[in-house]
């Protein structure tokens, strides 16, 4: 079927993930295909309440001493994804550098925490000693651009470099920006994605909003009791389509919208969420019936999951299989859009539909086709992934098979 798209698709020549499931997409794939939650009680730091988190427990790689100023957990989680040899993002960037030149390759990374984990420790010193510790470097560790700038220096790239920070939609928006930088001819390739780490501020902040679950989260379940926060990095190399990228999956579009309703509560009828999905379909030139799988934002809060199901039903109807995967990874905030786009790409590559870990019974009035268990040996070629953030900031990503 001929698509009447209004933005050129771009190739996804490599992608990598670091998550609570382990380093690499293979570990994530295995958890998805077995619907095995990696959520566990927090050990990285102490909290005044109990909850489950998606914590990366394997050792993280060290930052090159020449880039010591950029040393942060956030940069190390991003480096962990970059260094997964089997996922091949670093090799794909090196290949792109040879073909396009380092000036033609951008870096756009979504993050909501950046190096906040280190900043929090620095503030403990500030409050005691009335000065920041000597190793506090706001610009290279805490500022939002610290992680994209670190990746740019680590990879020797020299194109446009910036951070997108729109809370939980950050890295889905980074995909949108990467596609535009290529489609408008500014770049030939863009390393996009997201990285966020566990830190006290986000955990205690979500707790103050009464959105944290004490138990393993249950996305889309009628008894869901809130979020488990996770940490992760997802990196994708986007490239313009050439002979070389014929066998690569495609980023077709990213639909964006605003709720224009409230800073932390979604529009009650899900108008913003529905508009993001509709815009994504429109940009890609697709009918709703072309979507074979929807990865829901599904944070497992009472309000968000209900409203997303209303919006998804309105746009996609009751036939499209959908699932929420935050019962496996936790809600990785600024990295969620990248991680869940990668989950959609894994579903297409390995022809399976992920389940919803933690889901036992959907609400009686839920009209969406929500999968509890993963279904293997399926046939799918096009998938959508939703990300919605504070400020009513919405993005829906559509990817497809080569």
């Amino acid at each position: 079927m001929k698509r009447h798209n209004s933005i050129e698709s771009v190739a996804i020549s490599a992608y990598a993930a670091a998550s609570d499931c382990g380093l690499g997409t293979a570990a994530l794939l295995q958890a998805l295909q077995h619907n095995k939650s990696a959520l566990a009680p927090l050990i990285l730091f102490e909290l005044p309440f109990s909850t489950y988190v998606g914590e990366i427990k394997v050792p993280l790689p060290k930052i090159d001493p020449a880039l010591e100023l950029y040393q942060s957990r956030n940069a190390r989680v991003a480096l962990a994804a970059l260094n997964v040899v089997e996922d091949g993002v670093r090799a794909a960037v090196e290949s792109a550098k040879l073909r396009y030149g380092k000036e033609r390759i951008g870096v756009v990374i979504g993050t909501s925490t950046s190096g906040l984990y280190e900043t929090e420790s620095a503030y403990a010193v500030l409050l005691e000693q009335h000065k920041m510790p000597d190793d506090f470097h706001f610009i290279t560790r805490h500022a939002y651009q610290a992680t994209p700038r670190f990746l740019q220096l680590e990879l020797g790239l020299n194109g446009p470099c910036y951070a997108i920070s729109t809370a939980c939609s950050s890295s889905a928006k980074a995909l949108a920006t990467g596609q535009r930088l290529i489609a408008s001819g500014v770049c030939d390739a863009v390393l996009v994605g997201g990285a966020d780490t566990l830190c006290r501020l986000t955990l205690r902040g979500f707790k103050s909003l009464e959105l944290i679950s004490e138990q393993r989260c249950q996305p889309m379940d009628k008894d869901r009791a809130g979020i488990n926060i996770g940490e992760a990095a997802g990196l994708l190399l986007l490239e313009k389509n050439t002979e070389q990228t014929k066998s690569c999956p495609q980023l077709l579009s990213v639909g964006e919208s605003s709720d224009a309703h409230h800073m932390s509560t979604p529009h009650p009828a899900g108008l913003g969420a529905a508009l993001a999905m509709t815009n994504a379909l429109k940009l890609a030139g697709l009918e709703a019936s072309s979507i074979d799988y929807l990865n829901l934002h599904a944070t497992a809060t009472k309000i968000n999951d209900h409203i997303e199901s209303l919006a998804a039903y309105r746009v996609l109807g009751d036939q499209v299989p959908c699932s929420g995967t935050k019962g496996i990874t936790g809600h990785t905030l600024g990295a969620a859009g990248a991680i869940e786009t990668i989950i959609a790409l894994l579903a297409i590559k390995h022809q399976f539909l992920p389940g919803t870990a933690g889901l036992r019974h959907t609400e009686d009035n839920c009209q969406c086709h929500v999968l509890k268990q993963p279904l293997l040996h399926q046939s799918l070629s096009t998938a959508m992934s939703n990300s919605f953030g504070f400020g009513g900031n919405n993005a829906s990503v559509i990817v497809s098979a080569p």
């Binding site: 909501s112 929090e120 500030l126 910036y162 920070s165 103050s208 909003l209 815009n279 504070f390 900031n393």
Partner: protein, 249 residues
């Protein structure tokens, strides 16, 4: 082939207007009335200066704000709110839920959408020294593809002095309405590009940007207001210099 991009409105909000004297530019004071009282007590200075500048640029451009996509570019964003929360963390005190959701980088973008009832795409970016340059590039790429008009707002407030001195000594916000349509435009700009060339600018400007990162937009604002024909305008002060050619009628 790139579409030509036009500037239809621009505005500055700067609580310390004397810094503009060197550049023959005029700024606005914060307009508190733009934000209803129920929301106003929740918003920071950074949000107020950004919204004042955004409103000024949209009024000059006579733009339908309800459908206008926007790009909010800021190095530190809600740094004062984040600072206040970080100070509470070591004490095990309860955080304020409002302060928490107001600490995200897209807080100003979110309030702008709520105030204007605008459901169009809004993004919030940060790029340290290149924040204004990348904001303009982001707006430029949107206009090359599907947008007809885009609002760009670049802003930073005063920062706690221990974070990254001398950055954050002066609050500054500016806004531009960019368009693919030429009618009633103030100027046109070329694609933002980078070059390792010395740029021509007022000798005080780099020092000002050191303490007010959002003031990187001043040469473009000056080029528009002084109508000097076609000029090469720097968009940052450090590293490879990003620039655009700005042409006034």
């Amino acid at each position: 082939m790139n579409k030509p991009i036009y500037i239809k409105g621009s505005a500055i909000c700067c609580p310390n207007p004397s810094i503009l004297d060197d550049y023959a530019l005029q700024g606005m004071d914060v307009d508190k009335t733009l934000i209803p009282a129920t929301l106003r007590r929740r918003t920071s200075l950074t949000t107020r200066i950004a919204i004042t500048a955004a409103d000024g640029a949209c009024r000059q451009a006579q733009m339908d704000v309800k459908t206008l996509p926007s790009v909010f570019a800021s190095l530190g964003g809600e740094i004062q709110v984040t600072d206040a929360l970080c100070r509470l963390l070591p004490k095990d005190e309860l955080l304020s839920p409002t302060q928490f959701h107001n600490s995200v980088h897209n807080t100003t973008a979110g309030y702008w959408g709520i105030l204007q009832q605008c459901q169009a795409a809004v993004t919030a970016i940060a790029a340290v020294d290149d924040t204004f340059a990348m904001g303009l590039l982001e707006a430029w790429t949107q206009l090359q593809l599907n947008a007809t008009n885009v609002l760009l707002v670049c802003y930073d407030e005063e920062w706690p002095p221990y974070l990254a001195p001398p950055i954050g000594q002066i609050a500054f916000a500016s806004a531009f309405v960019l368009s693919t349509e030429k009618s009633d435009s103030l100027a046109s700009i070329s694609m933002p590009e980078t070059e390792n060339l010395a740029a021509d600018y007022h000798k005080q400007w780099p020092e000002l940007v050191n303490s007010a990162p959002a003031a990187a937009s001043i040469p473009l604002l000056a080029a528009i207001s002084q109508s000097k024909g076609k000029v090469r305008v720097p968009l940052n002060t450090k590293g490879a210099i990003w620039f655009t050619y700005c042409e006034t009628p």
